[in-house]
């Protein structure tokens, strides 16, 4: 039984199908990387798995509970075992780094303040920010914010760690450090991670399993070697960084434009 399983997920925004009957299994103790270009539906899938939006149809179960149907109380209970680091870090600007990390500990546990301080220090130390706890998010660089977001996601010792574009907008050195950190977390804490990214290099560095998303469907799922050996033209295109044929995109744009004009009439 996989830790997270997505079944026949369909998501539509204003009648536009973003995810189309998607199936995905995420195994415990593995790093699964969700790889795909912009607009492929990665972020949408992530928001669905986090229970931030409801699908049109299909189901998502985490640890055996279907989060599309369960009660708000059950959803809250599941969310406590999931740590999330958002693309924009989403640290609370009114709180210092320490307070950001301590927030869930203070409110969801009955730990003594001294114990919380210690845990916060440890979590910040894991991401190399132990000396910066007193600073506020706006005083940090982009890379530090992302690492702080990881520390906050780790606060409650989650079983599942979800990272949305951890290396986007970072320089290669910091991005590589973050990759090392993710692998380190998996090896030391046996954490299950779901990492959304569009950066090939990072994906192949950290992944146990890669799921490639294109146009709301999964193109391929497999280990690094399986993906490298995959002969699907879209997968090859992504791996070899071949630019998309603009003529096709233009044609579909024109087609939609003409349809729009007819609809107006």
């Amino acid at each position: 039984m996989s830790l997270i399983s997505v079944r026949d997920l369909v998501v539509e925004y204003d009648g536009r199908r973003v995810l189309d009957g998607l199936n995905l299994d995420i195994e415990a103790g593995e790093i699964t990387v969700l790889l795909g270009g912009s607009g492929s539906g990665k972020s949408t899938l992530l928001r669905q798995i986090l229970g931030l939006e409801r699908p049109k149809s299909g189901s998502i179960s985490i640890k055996g509970t279907d989060i599309t149907l369960c009660s708000p109380a059950d959803l809250k209970a599941i969310r406590r075992s999931v740590g999330v680091a958002f693309q924009s870090a989403a640290l609370f600007n009114s709180l210092s780094l320490e307070e950001n990390v301590a927030l869930t500990l203070r409110e969801h546990t009955a730990l003594a303040p001294s114990v919380i301080d210690l845990i916060v220090w440890l979590k910040l130390a894991v991401v190399g920010l132990a000396d910066f706890g007193k600073l506020h998010p706006q005083e940090l660089s982009g890379g530090m914010k992302k690492r702080a977001a990881v520390a906050r996601a780790l606060a409650l010792d989650p079983e599942i760690l979800v990272l949305d574009e951890p290396s986007a907008g970072l320089d290669p050195i910091v991005a590589a450090e973050l990759d090392e950190l993710i692998v380190f977390l998996k090896e030391t804490f046996q954490i299950t991670a779901l990492v959304v990214t569009h950066e090939m290099h990072s994906a192949f560095r950290i992944a146990d399993r890669i799921a490639m998303l294109f146009d709301g469907k999964l193109l391929a799922v497999g280990t690094k070697d399986e993906i490298r050996a995959n002969q699907n033209p879209r997968v090859r295109q992504f791996l070899n960084r071949v630019p998309a044929k603009h003529t096709a995109a233009l044609a579909s744009y024109l087609e939609r434009y003409v349809q729009g004009q007819e609809a107006k009439r």
């Binding site: 931030l52 209970a77 969310r79 999330v84 989403a90 600007n93 869930t104």
Partner: protein, 267 residues
């Protein structure tokens, strides 16, 4: 013609949608409010609420007091210039006292608070929305309504009536200063006249009004913030719209309440 009907229909639906959302949010916040109360609730929410009270109430005090003083002078002078012709200058006292307790105290406060705090709510929550902080709260198993909205609403419910009382006091005080300088009426005597002209009913009416105004300002501000979609420009637009809509709704509510009290008072 069909186009006009279409626009009217769409606009009506969107306004109804707005009022509906406002109602849903109000009830959700009232349910989440227990968490923000002292002793029975969560102490972190209560602390946030106290913080908000300082921001909405205490920090607005000088501005509200000054606005009320100026309006008090204006009302006294405008009243005096007319009443003087009938030799009824002492009615200025009643005008200022009753006018400020029933009407101008709560209304001036509401306008000041909607400009200061209503816009701040919209900007703060809108920014949280744009930077995914609201989503972060949700995935951290917090209820944004309880975490963000309830302390703000509780703070507004406490701070706005208090500010209204202060505004009424300063307005009446300004009227006293005017009477002192124009007719050499002693301030103590002035306040004694004031107390005879105000009834308890006026004070209760003012409190009911200011609670309603607090509700409107807090909820319009928060709803505008939560409706932000997109980037920083949307935050700016929501801030403007929070002030415009809450000021408008405050004045509409004031008209409704004044009408009700007028007819209730007659019997």
């Amino acid at each position: 013609m069909a186009n006009l009907l279409e626009i009217t229909g769409r606009e009506t639906l969107s306004q109804l949608d707005y009022v509906g959302s406002l109602n849903i949010q109000l009830w959700a916040t009232l349910r989440g409010m227990r968490a923000a109360l002292p002793l029975v609730g969560n102490r972190h929410r209560w602390r946030a609420a106290v913080h908000q009270m300082l921001d909405i109430g205490v920090h607005a005090l000088p501005m509200v007091a000054l606005m009320a003083m100026c309006s008090g002078f204006i009302l006294a002078m405008q009243g005096a210039s007319e009443l003087r012709r009938f030799g009824a200058l002492h009615f200025v006292i009643d005008l200022v006292a009753v006018g400020f307790t029933r009407e101008l105290g709560p209304l001036l406060t509401a306008i000041a608070v909607s400009g200061r705090s209503g816009s701040a709510f919209a900007a703060e929550i809108g920014t949280m929305k744009v930077t995914e902080e609201i989503d972060a709260l949700k995935v951290m198993a917090f209820e944004p309504v309880e975490f963000v909205l309830a302390p703000k609403y509780l703070a507004a419910l406490v701070a706005v009536p208090c500010l209204s009382i202060v505004a009424a006091f300063f307005g009446i005080f300004a009227g006293g200063l005017f009477m002192f300088f124009s007719t050499h009426l002693g301030l103590l005597l002035y306040f004694r006249y004031v107390l005879t002209s105000i009834e308890l009913r006026d004070v209760i009416a003012a409190m009911i009004k200011s609670v309603a105004f607090a509700t409107i300002i807090a909820h319009v501000g928060c709803l505008e913030g939560l409706r932000v979609r997109g980037g920083p420009d949307a935050v700016g637009r929501s801030t403007t719209s929070a002030v415009v809509r809450s000021t408008f709704l405050v004045i509409v509510a004031d008209a409704i309440f004044t009408t009700i009290f007028y007819f209730v008072g007659k019997t």
